[in-house]
């Protein structure tokens, strides 16, 4: 167990060391040393710039995540249980899955203006088909034997949903949530870069114009850390909780 804890620490240290060596050798503003980057990170946090922009991005993330997950789950469950409709709309899903994120973003801004609604809509539109496909898979795989049992014992709609259907869909929902957060993060920055005046994407755009690599890397570190925290503190425990009954 002690070894399992040591390994990630060692690999992170090795990564930092390599970065330090490479930056010292190159001695260029295009690759600042870890020390410089952490200094910028500290200044940005203290000045309140980073928390402000990170907060704006996180708020957008939360809203679009909740919208995409709930809408996607509803549609996914529906398609999973109605085979004919599913086959009819399957092509639509394939098309939406393959539209490049940039296209949806541009179209949303063109159609709805450079507004918050357009930004959220663009993110949701990108994530939605993904959730639908994953949840649909779960709804197709529902155990008929258990559904019959629930019917024979007169469980009723609510009990059946809560105790028979939900536990079977949960792993699929968690799967969709985990890939979802990673995907939304990446898209949301492009959305902000193209049409918002705050958020991580906007800030990175500014740094890019000033060739401020240290700033870009500092924001990246903050960003990766937050995602890892969400994953470790929220999604993993939820996943473990859902699997507690397995042998």
């Amino acid at each position: 167990m002690r070894f399992a804890f040591l390994l990630p620490v060692l690999s992170s240290l090795l990564f930092l060391a390599l970065w330090q060596v490479l930056a010292s050798l190159l001695d260029s503003s295009a690759l600042p040393t870890p020390g410089t980057v952490f200094q910028v990170l500290y200044q940005e946090i203290v000045s309140g710039q980073l928390p402000f922009h990170l907060g704006a991005t996180l708020a957008r993330l939360a809203v679009s995540f909740v919208l995409a997950m709930s809408l996607g789950s509803l549609i996914g469950i529906f398609f999973g249980q109605h085979e004919k409709l599913d086959r009819f709309f399957d092509n639509w899903l394939v098309i939406f899955l393959n539209i490049p994120a940039l296209v949806t973003i541009i179209l949303c801004y063109v159609w709805f203006g450079l507004s918050e609604v357009a930004a959220i809509a663009a993110v949701v539109a990108n994530k939605l088909p993904n959730v639908v496909v994953t949840v649909r898979e779960g709804a197709r795989a529902l155990d008929r034997d258990l559904l019959e049992m629930a019917q024979a014992y007169r469980f009723g709609r609510w009990k059946t949903l809560r105790h028979v259907i939900w536990p079977q869909l949960f792993p699929y929902l968690i799967g969709a949530a985990r890939t979802g957060i990673a995907l939304i993060w990446k898209i949301i920055l492009v959305v902000e870069l193209l049409g918002r005046s705050n958020g991580m994407g906007y800030q990175l755009h500014l740094f890019f114009q000033m060739f401020n690599v240290a700033g870009i890397l500092a924001y990246t570190i903050a960003f990766v850390t937050v995602i890892q925290l969400i994953e470790a503190l929220l999604l993993k425990p939820l996943d473990r909780h859902a699997k507690r009954w397995r042998r």
Binding site: D145, L146, E148, M149, Q151, A152, Y153, R154, F155, K159, H163, V164, P167, A242, R244, W245, R246, R247
Partner: protein
């Protein structure tokens, strides 16, 4: 007292490409007296499970009806399936409590778990139980709702002989504590003779009633395999059409 009349005029599966309409059950009428233990015996694939699904209301596409002269108390059906069908993400106790009708307390469940030797396993998840234990949990669930009619679909199949015999004894014990009508499907004639008040023989599909026999062996003597065997031999020699089924 309650009498239950099962009257299936016709149950058919619609024609699929290539094959015509398949008639599973035709003109089958069974009357069950209150508290009677009836075994349905017939070859595999003769529509016994279909019949139980119709009675349980899982399949409503058929001509006919299930009637009862029950008044006052609710008509309640419990169904013990061929496999235990427990929710793997709920504990043993939760699985049973979920099936209980509203307002029923857990005293009966405590007692049943005790009799079945499951009190220690209440908080376990079903995946950690042996098949024999899972079957007993399913049995407790079926009895706990205090049904008017208990349907059992070959519930002891694929258990080894000693385990099956033990669970059968437990079944009879809890049933005698609170008798209700039981409809038990099996293709094992010895099992049927050791359990039932009455045997009903069904034909291969389209299923219809072939023959019925009352069993008057007193319950205590049914422990004796020789008695069961003698009854079976007598039955088969008297009715050659039955031996053709088995």
């Amino acid at each position: 007292m309650t009498r239950i009349v099962i009257d299936i005029r016709k149950k058919a599966y619609p024609a699929k490409h290539g094959s015509g309409e398949h008639i599973a059950i035709q003109d089958l009428r069974i009357e069950l007296r209150a508290g009677e233990f009836v075994c349905l015996v017939g070859p595999s694939g003769c529509g016994k499970t279909t019949l139980l699904n119709l009675i349980a209301g899982l399949d409503t596409h058929f001509d006919g009806g299930i009637d009862t002269d029950e008044t006052g108390k609710p008509f309640r059906i419990a169904y013990m399936f061929q496999n235990p069908r427990l929710l793997p993400w709920r504990t043993v106790r939760e699985n049973i409590d979920l099936a209980l009708p509203k307002g029923q307390d857990g005293k009966a469940v405590d007692h049943l778990l005790e009799v079945m030797g499951l009190s220690q396993s209440q908080s376990q998840y079903p995946e950690r139980l042996s098949l024999g234990m899972s079957r007993r949990v399913a049995l407790v669930r079926a009895f706990a709702i205090e049904p008017t009619l208990l349907l059992m679909d070959e519930p002891f199949v694929s258990l080894d002989a000693p385990t099956a015999r033990r669970v059968r004894q437990l079944l009879i014990r809890v049933w005698q504590e609170r008798p209700h009508t039981v409809l038990f499907v099996t293709h094992d004639l010895r099992e049927a003779i050791s359990l039932a008040d009455r045997l009903i023989f069904l034909s291969p599909s389209p299923t219809t009633l072939l023959h019925q026999v009352s069993i008057d062996i007193p319950r205590p003597s049914r422990e004796d395999e020789a008695v069961i065997e003698a009854f079976r031999n007598q039955l088969i020699s008297g009715h050659p059409e039955i031996s053709a089924l088995l």
